[in-house]
Symmetry: C2
Subunit: 163 residues, 2 copies
């Protein structure tokens, strides 16, 4: 069970680079909305390390997710197969009232999008959370902002937001 | 470019166990028939070794396929996510007129199905090939017999063959 809330960020906090941050590159080997559930197979590079993540979602709460490390050689072989299905972002870890806000500043075809996510250890903590001013609109669970979707379709296309 | 022909086997050659053979287990992490092409992410165990294969097919001849080795620990983590999408077969390598016939005797939900496949080094060799008597009906390119499909739907279901 993941307990997290996600927000759109319209005003980026000042002096962001003082927080720990890393470039994250993700490419999708497969996205499947088949009869047997929704699948994702994701290749991720962060801090020079590569991981392969497989997510399997049924319609209902059941959600399986597994992650394995990949050697640079294996990752280099798989990466070309993610062409056209990639997303890149710089992630900043911002401490806030005992939580860590993960602020993602997107690049490439999703440039301009900035989101913030917080994970909670309990339902109570999740409810009690008061976001700072710059975390504007809540987008928890909105599939439009799922990274797999962004990698496939970008941000603006098919959306109702204006430039 | 793969040059191969595939056949249904109705009568299994005698004394099959004298040929080199191995149990092959395959599970599919993802099958995708999305807008951007057809994807497969396959986990395979053969001879105690694990490989992850990613296939990307466009409608036209372009076909990308990459394979990486997996550690037993990584394979063990990913295997549960292939539940309901598995296929198992014993593969026999039968020498025949300078070629190797790969005879696959399926198990589990595809039990009863036996296929034979031959790969060729040239167009000419492919055309010249005369299959032995027991390789009956040619099924080259028939998606019904693609392993990914068999893993998902089995053999009999939706087919016109009888028990």
């Amino acid at each position: 069970m993941e307990r997290e809330r996600k927000f759109l960020v319209t005003q980026i906090p000042s002096r962001l680079s003082r927080y720990p941050h890393a470039l994250i590159e993700q490419g999708y080997l497969a996205l499947d909305n088949g009869q047997t559930g929704h699948y994702e197979v994701r290749l991720r590079r962060k801090d020079g390390k590569f991981t392969l993540t497989v997510k399997k979602k049924k319609a209902t709460p059941i959600r399986l997710e597994t992650e394995i490390p990949l050697s640079p050689a294996s990752a280099a072989k798989l990466w070309p197969l993610t062409q056209g299905r990639r997303v890149a972002k710089t992630r900043y870890d911002i401490p806030y009232q005992g939580h860590t806000i993960e602020l993602d500043v997107y690049r490439g075809k999703t440039r301009g999008l900035v989101t913030a996510e917080v994970e909670f250890s309990s339902e109570a903590a999740m409810r009690k959370f008061k976001p700072p001013d710059w975390m504007k609109k809540e987008i928890t669970g909105r599939s439009k902002y799922a990274n797999a979707r962004l990698a496939n379709f970008g941000w603006k296309r098919g959306s109702q937001s204006r430039r």
